[in-house]
Amino acid sequence: MPRRRIAFKAYGLRTPVRLRSPHTLLAGCVLIAIAAITLVLVSGLNAGQLRSIGPGMMPRWLAFGLAICGIGLVITSFLSDEEEVGAIPFRGSIFILGAIFAFASTIRPFGLAVSGPLALVVAGYATPEARLRELIVLALALTAFCIVLFGDFLNLPIPIFPSQLLDYLPEGWSLKFAMRVHSGLLIAFAVAVALLPLHREADPLLRAVPQKRKD
């Protein structure tokens, strides 16, 4: 590199400028984009003057600051190398975000009893090492734990059961009692699934995992 550097200094811009770090360039562009979006969004707000600052002034100053940092990063991307960036894993993000949105959309209508296990199992598949049986056991056990802790012990206003099903509770059953019964059932199911003997070759649940052959 020394020759190129000296050449750059001696001949100025006649030497072609080489992009040395696309990673940093992208970072800088993202900042500039955020700054631009912000400026557009607050264009309707009154910035006021220094002695009576309006709502628009801080966002505007900050957007300018951000843009300057972005430009700085863009310049840096031509000046120094940075290390390689690996591939973006889509599987992880999709399943994690899917699990979170599944929880958010099902918690109110269906309660923790449904959204808890759902979120946990969906999230579990974010890794290629997912095993359905383990996830089910974990989901059932943890949901039972959460119901007892948050719903029963701490009395938090988290919906536990689907609102429609609450009409079908047997007479005399309080909500807390229903919670405890449900938790008990969950634990029982969890234990049952955990102890269920399944042949490895025939088990459809384990197909996702590459099995080490035992011969």
Binding site: M58, G65, L73, G86
Partner: protein, 503 residues
Amino acid sequence: MGAFVDNLSLGFAIALSFQNLGLAFLGCLVGTLIGVLPGVGPIATIAMLLPITFGLPPVGALIMLAGIYYGAQYGGSTTAILVNIPGEATSVVTVLDGHQMARQGRAGIALGIAAIGSFFAGTVSTLLIAALGAPLATLALMFSSAEYFSLMVLGLVFATVLARGSLLRAFSMIILGILMSTVGQDLDTGEERLTFGLSFLTDGIDFAVLAMGLFGIAEIIRNLEHTERRDVVKATIGRLLPGPEDFRQSAKPILRGTIVGAVLGILPGNGAVLGPFASYTLEKKLADDPSRFGKGAIEGVAGPESANNAGAQTSFIPLLTLGIPPNAVMALMVGAMTIHGIIPGPQVITRNPDLFWGMIASMWIGNLMLLVINLPLIGIWVRLLKVPYRLMFPAILMFCCVGIYSINSLPSDVALIGFFGLIGYILIRLGFEPAPLLLGFVLGKMMEENLRRALTISRGDLTTFINPWTHPISAALLAIAVILLLLALLPSVKKGREEVFVE
């Protein structure tokens, strides 16, 4: 001196009754157990456990509340170290080196040092409060908007030192954090800013949601990239408690952290939140090998944790004497105190001396309980790390969702942690770091409010912040900020020059 001893003995006489000891123990235990759940930070923990104290007599209730408070704080640190999720602004610093230590198999040591450092800081701070409570309240009265603003600016300069990477990137993250704190309704005019018309953004972004998404979710996504690297947390747990070498390295940081935290905690306006950051900055500057920070330096846990606890205790001084809670946790405490009959304000020391001093004494007992309860529990926490990650992360995710939902009962909050998780992950891949963003966010609101107020008072005169005649404290704080910034920039300028010459 006589009054000092009298007050403390009164306090301890009350706090050491059998019932009150039991309540303190219970509070600490429950606070820690709930606080340690990932997704449930100190704020959520205290809010959840507050109703348990309602049925108790006032002194007992406050003692249990103090126990819950410390338990929640320590539980939050435990989560920060083990799972890399900061439950509160002050845990952001613990996460930096504490989690790295956990990854290196030194989780027990990190947890132990955090507990011991906190206990030492708590002891010193209790003595400070007892001795200096009243006189220090007068310091609070000298602070006006300009001083608050300059203090926040100083805090942000600390944030740049937290950055492991380039300063330019850290600086841009700070700015982005402040920008995100402007989302919501404007303070003075009520106009909506940057809310995209979404109703749940009208009140702005919740800190817990942002922290969970940026740190917790983004971290989980990042860990899933490297299937080989994932079980990095070593199976060999090693020593559970800090050894002599660790103590030797941590002794001075604990001392310095205590002083820094105690001083900053007394300052009104959430000065306590700057304690850990200032301590981290200090330790990094004083260290023989600053490059160890961010990779598991024990000083990066010992100092900030002590500062955190010292600040948490001394921040009761402006709280009890001025009646202004500096942050959400303190606001909850004020609410609880009011319910039980202590109305914070200048007369609280004279009007309810037994409640006041009983509470101060019970704070120290709470610290002691924490040590007693948690050191044995460290073994259990550390063993949790052995659970294979493919099972851990869905569990963490579920707790996060439930925890976040329990704060405001808003599904949009839960969806937002997913959104911020994605943003956080993208930022990390682009080479940015979330820690400075979080600090910018925390300080942003206060900064803007005080900036506007100071400039309104000075009628648009920007020099009011550095004018040594009208605002000497503000000028001093800004001067320190500039000096620190220069100190941070100089090494990189020098290094840059060297690189050019080397090539």
